[in-house]
């Protein structure tokens, strides 16, 4: 197995046989001619034929890649008619009494040089265009058939370089991927490959003897495997299938509503743990962020994150979500996490210890810093807050008092903030049992099913010995969810789930029937859950 590296121009996975693209041998010899007028005629005829072929390519490209990208072939036609170009060729034929092939090839090279030496990446890439049209005219003069692929099954096209016309000329249904030795990410071929949705790599130093060999193109990582081992093939076959499923889902479901067959709607959001996750949220078409874990700001550093650092992170996310809801959870840290600067004492039971809101309420400085940052960021988007690990009404009242202090401080400083919804995580049995009382104090509930299940079943999730009795669908948990939804609704709170159970599509119908208002899942699950929602009929 050979493993070659290259640069990816378009991602995706292709598995198949290599077909080395033949440019045909176009060696051009300089020959003397006696009848220069006739030779010029030959050139003119070939030029017209080339323009005709380009016209056909334009039509094909129009259908396959759209007007903007097809335009290059119209430009090619114009280049062929350019008087500077044409006159250079005809003068060369007349003055040197040489054959049209040589005149065209040389002029092509000259103009190509001129563009290549320009101080502009885009213009440099045009030198390939001039070469392309000249090669076409020379091929016609030589009576060569512009060969290309000679296979019936789809192949991975491998070539030294591919000109735009060569890329479009290929029968798309026969191309699994492109791999070239040269080329640039700005080249027209790259643009066309992207538009045609075909994985492509450039800068791959392949050997010429690989025609017909099995290969894998990894457009995500820029790797080309030749004669891959069977376990590599298996790995990529799976990746390719996942890829295809994702693409299919995306195509079918992006922009569609989260609505059941009988018209029931539910909000579908995503859970993230860092600012860079926002891209995945938007790509997967989530309606908002149902859980923004703020711990990343506190981990991997040896001092408390400043208000400014936090503010910038929250603001960036809020702005990138452009009005879609962002629910930020205040710090949910305990002795089980590596945060020496918090000076947390070692505990025997960190899951039930000094953590999360307990730290915040006993160390209001830390809490206020985070709250100030969140409130300030709320001015730039649609932000809500939720507080973790709540067990009493008293805790919530304390929180609200501190929030009022924070708002007063910001008002005094003239710092603006938005209207921030206040919610709590329901992840303790206590919170479930008094959810009727808690509902009066807040705007929403988000059920943290992972911890709720753990505390309710008295099972440590990390203990593999107990896997066989850990039932995430336990009746107790389901009844608790129903109770929380009902109690929440009585006081006009919306209720959502941000734990792993939200992505469990065997329960989606159950949740919908219970009247759940929101599901927040990992970005990669959003479309799968949407697909499930749209297939359910809660009236049946």
């Amino acid at each position: 197995m050979e493993v070659l590296n290259g640069k990816s121009v378009f991602s995706g996975i292709a598995i198949g046989k290599v077909s080395i693209y033949n440019k045909g041998d176009g060696q051009v010899k300089r020959e003397k001619v006696t009848d220069t007028a006739a030779e010029i005629q030959r050139f003119e005829a070939a030029k017209e034929k080339a323009k005709e072929q380009l016209g056909e390519l334009y039509e094909k490209a129009l259908r396959e890649v759209g007007e903007v990208n097809a335009m290059i072939f119209e430009v090619h036609q114009m280049m062929l008619d350019d008087l500077d170009y044409v006159e250079a060729i005809t003068h060369m034929i007349e003055n040197q009494s040489i054959n049209a092939e040589y005149a065209v090839a040389t002029t092509g090279d000259n103009f190509s040089e001129m563009f290549a030496s320009m101080d502009d990446d885009y213009m440099k890439a045009r030198s390939a265009d001039v070469k392309d049209i000249s090669n076409r005219v020379v091929s016609i003069l030589q009576g060569r058939d512009n060969s290309g692929l000679s296979s019936d099954e789809p192949v991975i096209v491998v070539a030294d370089d591919l000109a735009p016309s060569e890329t479009v000329q290929l029968d798309k249904s026969k191309v699994l991927a492109f791999v070239t030795r040269h080329g640039s990410t700005n080249s027209h071929t790259a643009i066309l490959a992207r538009t045609m949705n075909i994985p492509a790599l450039i800068g791959v130093d392949y050997s010429d003897d690989m025609n017909g060999k099995e290969a894998i193109v990894d457009g995500y990582n820029g790797i080309f495997y030749v004669e891959p081992e069977s376990k590599v093939v298996d790995e990529y076959t799976q990746k390719r299938e996942e890829d295809a499923n994702k693409k299919r889902l995306l195509q079918e479901l992006k922009g569609k509503g989260n609505v059941t067959i009988d018209g029931k709607r539910i909000n579908l959001y995503a859970n993230i743990g860092s600012v860079s996750d926002v891209a995945a949220v938007l790509q997967n078409d989530a309606g908002g962020i149902g859980l923004f874990r703020s711990e990343f700001l506190y981990l991997g550093t040896d001092t408390f994150p400043t208000e400014e650092e936090q503010f910038n992170a929250y603001k960036t996310v809020a702005e990138n979500m452009a009005g879609k809801k962002v629910i930020i959870r205040t710090l949910d840290i305990g002795a089980d996490k590596q945060v020496d600067y918090f000076n947390l004492e070692k505990e025997d039971n960190p899951a039930m210890g000094y953590r999360a809101i307990r730290i915040c309420l006993s160390q209001p400085d830390i809490f206020k810093t985070q709250l100030r940052a969140i409130f300030r960021a709320s001015y730039y988007g649609n932000i809500s807050i939720m507080y973790p690990m709540i067990i009493s009404v008293n805790e919530v009242q304390q929180i609200k008092k501190i929030v009022e202090e924070v708002k007063a401080e910001l008002d005094a400083q003239g710092l603006p903030y938005g209207d921030v919804e206040q919610g709590i995580m329901i992840e303790t049995p206590a919170a479930v049992m008094i959810s009727d009382l808690l509902a009066r104090e807040v705007d929403f509930f988000s059920i943290g099913t992972n911890d709720l299940t753990q505390y309710t079943l008295a099972i440590d999730r990390q203990n593999p010995k107990l896997d066989s009795i850990y039932d995430s669908h336990h009746e107790a948990v389901l009844r608790m969810i129903k109770m929380v939804i009902d109690n929440g609704h009585k006081e006009n709170c919306w209720v959502g789930i941000c734990g792993e159970l939200g992505a469990d599509i065997t329960l989606t119908e159950t949740f919908l029937k219970m009247g759940l208002d929101e599901l927040s899942v990992s970005p990669t699950f959003v479309l799968k859950v949407r697909e499930k929602i749209r297939s359910v009929d809660t009236s049946k």
Binding site: V68, D119, M123
Partner: protein, 85 residues
């Protein structure tokens, strides 16, 4: 003879696609049309020349029309530049 100066605002400058459109438009007029940058003047009906000017964002080009229908040409070209470059 009519002319106007224009500062390129397009981030890519005069690249293949608008060059093609410009040449197409200029070729539609009987008068002579040229485009110049830094004192170098080329025939606006010849695409190789137009592209070879290497006009980028921020550069000032001078477009001239001389002959029959020069007023129409100049007006159309000015609109074209504003809309595409």
């Amino acid at each position: 003879m009519k002319e106007f100066n224009y500062t390129i605002t397009d981030a890519q400058g005069i690249h293949a696609r608008p060059a093609g459109l410009l040449v197409k438009m200029a070729a539609g007029y009987p008068c002579k049309v040229t485009i110049a940058k830094d004192g170098r003047e080329v025939d606006a009906k010849r695409i190789m020349g137009v592209m070879s000017l290497g006009a980028k964002m921020g550069h000032i080009v001078t477009i001239k029309a001389d002959g029959e229908s020069e007023d129409d040409a100049i007006e159309a070209l000015e609109t074209f530049m504003k809309e595409n470059l």
